[in-house]
């Protein structure tokens, strides 16, 4: 009988340390929530976290919580609760899973971290629409629920080239956050603190980029699936020394792998690029699906989203405005296309997988002819798989498996 062999991707030793840092982060938030000893802000994942940190807030990231609901496969039971209260199954399933879980009084944090029984209560919610409009509606729901202020930055979207006018507009919106944040935190804004946090964020971002860039080595020491896990500190701890320390450790381990020619997937027959969100509830299955065929999905647009090259502590507001607008998700399709083309070359990939996530059009880049245009331009073939980041009702495992296997057979024929 045609048998399926199991090949696990190679474990990263630094994971143990990352888990410790992440645990400390969640317990610190939990303690602050219970004792009300520190103010807590909720922030979007590519929102102005540096400003909040510089003003003394501890930060909770609802998208991180949404991804945890997805990865623990709790999301699919939570989403219908939000659907029933008027939040469509067609909108962001981070939003619906997170709000649904809150309505049910459930959090995956309790499973992972004994003693934590709820998400930390916010004193303020701060969003940036640079990624999508859903975050605004999502945060608005909690602002009404907790009766706390809702602040936001409204970013230009579909930007081709980031110009000075874009930067000026965002920088002034960022500055406008300061007075209300001073009132909420009780702390006076201190530019030196912001510069310090931004310097740490910049260092974190640079190290995270180097970590991801190790995947350009042949064989690659890293997979996209590792990236989705190890990006945790770049999201929730950027602007802290902890994140910097962590990525130094991780980078050293990966550089040793490159030196010793240790492959994350052995043998590495083909190298693929992933565009779009991960399917959080299927990370392990997808990792095994590819690795047992000797295929390393080694780089992604998604993990690269937490690289903020423009940060400059000498010019904090303008550089933050630029960095948060230069992000892939904010850009026009021609800028996106150019970006993926450069990634294909840099990571030396044989093919691209586009994940068309039903509830996140913002991260699904295959809907306006990009796969066809890029294939015509580069000759690199692609496969689009339908699914979702969190809502497993929208995922067909059998369809994914057959499509992926057929795509690998196509690569073998070349």
């Amino acid at each position: 009988m045609a048998e399926e062999k199991k090949v696990a991707r190679k474990k990263i030793e630094a994971t143990v340390q990352m888990n410790r840092y992440m645990s400390d982060y969640f317990y610190e938030l939990n303690e602050a929530d219970k004792s009300r000893s520190r103010k807590i802000a909720w922030c979007t994942s590519v929102g102005p976290a540096e400003i909040l940190r510089a003003m003394g807030f501890l930060i909770h990231f609802p998208e991180n919580h949404g991804a945890m609901l997805g990865a623990t496969r709790m999301a699919t039971d939570m989403i219908p609760v939000a659907n029933a209260s008027g939040y469509s199954p067609e909108i962001c399933s981070y939003l619906t899973a997170d709000v649904g879980a809150y309505m049910k009084g459930i959090t995956p944090l309790s499973r992972a971290y004994p003693g934590i029984d709820r998400v930390p209560r916010p004193d303020v919610l701060v969003y940036n629409t640079n990624q999508c409009r859903d975050v605004q509606d999502w945060f608005a729901w909690y602002a009404a629920e907790f009766k706390v202020p809702l602040l936001g930055i409204h970013t230009h979207r579909g930007v081709k080239d980031v110009g000075d006018d874009h930067v000026a507009s965002i920088a002034s919106q960022m500055k406008a956050l300061i007075p209300p944040l001073e009132a909420i935190s009780g702390n006076k804004f201190d530019i030196d603190k912001l510069n310090h946090v931004l310097a740490l964020s910049k260092e974190c971002s640079g190290l995270w980029k180097k970590v991801l860039d190790t995947a350009s080595a042949k064989p690659s020491p890293l997979t996209f699936f590792d990236g989705t896990i190890h990006m945790g500190p770049a999201v929730v701890l950027r602007g802290t020394q902890t994140a910097v320390d962590y990525y130094k450790q991780l980078l050293a381990e990966l550089e040793t792998r490159i030196h010793d020619r240790v492959a994350a997937v052995e043998p590495e027959r083909f190298r693929l690029y992933w565009d779009g969100m991960p399917m959080w509830g299927r990370l392990r299955d997808h990792s095994e699906l590819f690795s047992r065929a000797g295929v390393n999905v080694l780089a992604s647009t998604y993990c690269n989203s937490w690289i903020f090259s423009a940060f400059d502590p000498e010019d904090p507001f303008n550089s933050m405005a630029r960095a948060y607008t230069e992000l892939f998700i904010v850009r026009a399709d021609d800028a996106k296309e150019d970006y993926i083309r450069r990634m294909i070359e840099f990571f030396k990939v044989d093919g691209i997988i586009y994940h068309d996530a039903k509830t996140c059009p913002n991260n699904s880049n295959c809907r306006y002819g990009m796969p066809q245009r890029l294939e015509a331009l580069t000759g690199i073939p692609s496969l689009t798989i339908n699914g979702d980041l969190n809502d497993l009702r929208l995922v067909s495992d059998e369809q994914t498996k057959t499509n992926v296997e057929a795509f690998i057979e196509q690569l073998e024929e070349r």
Binding site: M1, P381, S396, T402, A406, E409, Q410, R414
Partner: protein, 262 residues
């Protein structure tokens, strides 16, 4: 046949039907069978293979190598290797039409468009299995709603004088649309032709087609008016292999032959 001669088997376990083909060393089909897949794929694959072997006048001991494909490809005890139905359909079609082709496969539960270059290498493929639109499942559902046996649809569609167009993507919406057309007193044969038209439109929305088009699959095998309609829609002839329902199994058998020395 003497036992020293080599024969190869291809077994395509589809979600709806299981197909088996036996070929000899000259790539000639000497046995074939189609049965319902049911719920026990392993049993169905054995039974289907036995029927194909019966037709060839052989027993399982004669098989040099076997390859499985299709939805239940990992449930075929005799197959040492498996390949996806995409590769096998492509291989089976290229056996008949050895030039650059676009294959439209319409099966019971899914449909595909596969493009091959002049050497038979796959350029791209699209598969729809998330929705009944454009598949045999859509026609089955509609035959129930209209209370017309599935096998009568082809004949009825041919009688149509003035096709009724159906606009909806969704099978449930289409069913409502059909009821509305009946209420309006539309002719059943015109509605059935509209259903066929809808199947073809859904498939053609999946991808563009190259010059030479081949159609395969169980739905095509049992409704050859679909081929005529497609040909009229794309304004060029459509090629159909000898056994359109069995191209996946044939491709698997051809791969079994190629892989027998590996």
């Amino acid at each position: 046949m003497n036992a020293s001669q080599s024969v190869y088997a291809g077994i395509d376990v589809g979600a709806s039907r299981t197909k088996a083909i036996i070929i000899d060393a000259d790539r000639q089909i000497i046995g074939r069978a189609v049965i319902k897949s049911g719920t026990d794929f392993e049993e169905a694959s054995c039974r289907c293979l036995d029927q194909a072997l019966d037709m060839a006048g052989l027993t399982v001991a004669y098989i040099t190598n076997a390859m499985s494909t299709g939805y239940g490809r990992n449930n075929v005890a005799i197959a040492r290797d498996s390949k996806t139905e995409i590769s096998c359909h492509a291989r089976g079609c290229f056996h008949y039409f050895s030039h650059a082709i676009s294959i439209i496969d319409i099966g019971g539960q899914d449909n595909k468009i596969i493009k091959l270059d002049a050497s038979g290498k796959r350029l791209s493929f699209k598969m729809n299995r998330k929705c009944a639109a454009g598949t045999g499942a859509f026609l089955e559902e509609m035959s129930l709603r209209l209370d017309i046996p599935l096998e009568k649809l082809d004949g009825l569609a041919r009688q149509s004088q003035s096709m009724v167009e159906l606009g909806s993507f969704c099978t449930v919406f289409s069913a409502t649309e059909v009821l509305e057309k009946i209420r309006q007193g539309k002719n059943v044969s015109d509605i059935v032709k509209g259903l066929f038209h809808s199947v073809i439109k859904r498939v053609m929305e999946m991808d563009s087609l190259t010059e030479q088009v081949v159609m395969t699959g169980g739905v095509v095998a049992h409704n050859d008016y679909l081929v005529q309609m497609t040909s009229e829609m794309i304004e060029r002839p459509v090629l159909v292999p000898e056994y359109p329902q069995l191209t996946g199994a044939l491709g698997a058998a051809l791969f079994a032959m190629e892989y027998s020395d590996k």
